[in-house]
Subunit: 162 residues, 2 copies
DNA sequence: ACGCTGGCTTAGTCAATAGCTAGTCAGCTA
DNA sequence: TAGCTGACTAGCTATTGACTAAGCCAGCGT
């Protein structure tokens, strides 16, 4: 147990009660990727699904729900919807993650890490590995100077302060 | 834009359609930390709030909602509720993050990173910094061999495989 | 004992979400 | 042209989530 896992307020942000977190980036992210079903859809996209019927089958969501999530994710720029056609078959649609969509993966990976350790009794059924070296992959906090940072070693600063 | 941000299936998990992600750790995590309001409460706990009235004020949630979230998070082991008393005042209650609760921070940090970059027009108002060296902090994927890993360099393996 | 206050709880209301069912429409082939 | 199928859409229902307003109870000091 960390002695104190809280983030220290620094500069203009101290004390905490002097400002309102109304423009919080994490909350803004949760408005874009909205609720369990959006996470589920993104998970399957990361696991390689591209077409509507694959997503229906793998997410086990209803078609209306899936269509709504795909629409939102596309409208918000995390996905692009492309037509493709194999010879002799109809034109169909596939979905691809954009860079914006791909950048969401550390969130999902961090959730997987946390869930493996704390929400599953036997550590989870699947593991992320680095394809090149085979080592297990986790989400962790690091600073631009290359240190691994524990949540207790953090401070929150206003973005306009150095 | 990554050429292919999908996670590669390996070993028994390939092809994707051979198994169901019914015991997904990320989804299990989202059942424990359930919805926007739980994230909001955890954010303020990370930002140092301890008492009920602080949390009501800073989260701007209704009391019934906050009480319900605190109850769930406590029942699920992310928080402990302690009595404390200052001389001359009544006994009051405060909430502290457990290790389980503190371990959720990389999820929140990853959401902040993503939100800073993609959900806010001017990069977000607050920044996480490493208290010791002052450098900016981000959530990133790293493997146990010390490499920084992009989402396209990942494979998913069954946990019982090496 | 009374009054105050902090931390909830209760009951009702409204909004949001997801599912189901049926349907539509486009893009092909026979 | 008809038929098939893939990708949604529309409308309805049930459930869940969050809020408001009022209330309760415990823990103090006067």
């Amino acid at each position: 147990m960390d002695a104190n896992p809280a983030v220290t307020m620094s500069g203009r942000l101290d004390p905490r009660d002097n400002w309102e977190a109304s423009a919080c980036s994490a909350m803004a992210a949760l408005e874009v990727v909205h609720g369990r079903t959006a996470f589920l859809v993104l998970r399957e996209l990361f696991y390689g699904a591209e077409r509507f019927e694959q997503l229906v089958r793998r997410t086990r969501l209803s078609e209306p729900t899936l269509a709504a999530r795909l629409r939102e994710l596309t409208d918000n720029g995390l996905l692009v919807r492309e037509d493709y056609r194999e010879p002799g078959q109809r034109t169909r649609q596939q979905y691809r993650l954009t860079e914006k969509g791909a950048d969401f993966f550390p969130v999902l990976a961090a959730l997987m890490s946390w869930g493996d350790r704390w929400a599953q009794e036997d550590g989870g059924f699947v593991k992320l590995r680095h394809r090149d070296c085979g080592a297990a992959v986790h989400a962790e906090l690091r600073c631009d100077a290359g240190h691994t940072v524990a949540s207790g070693d953090l401070e929150l600063a206003a973005a306009t302060e150095r």
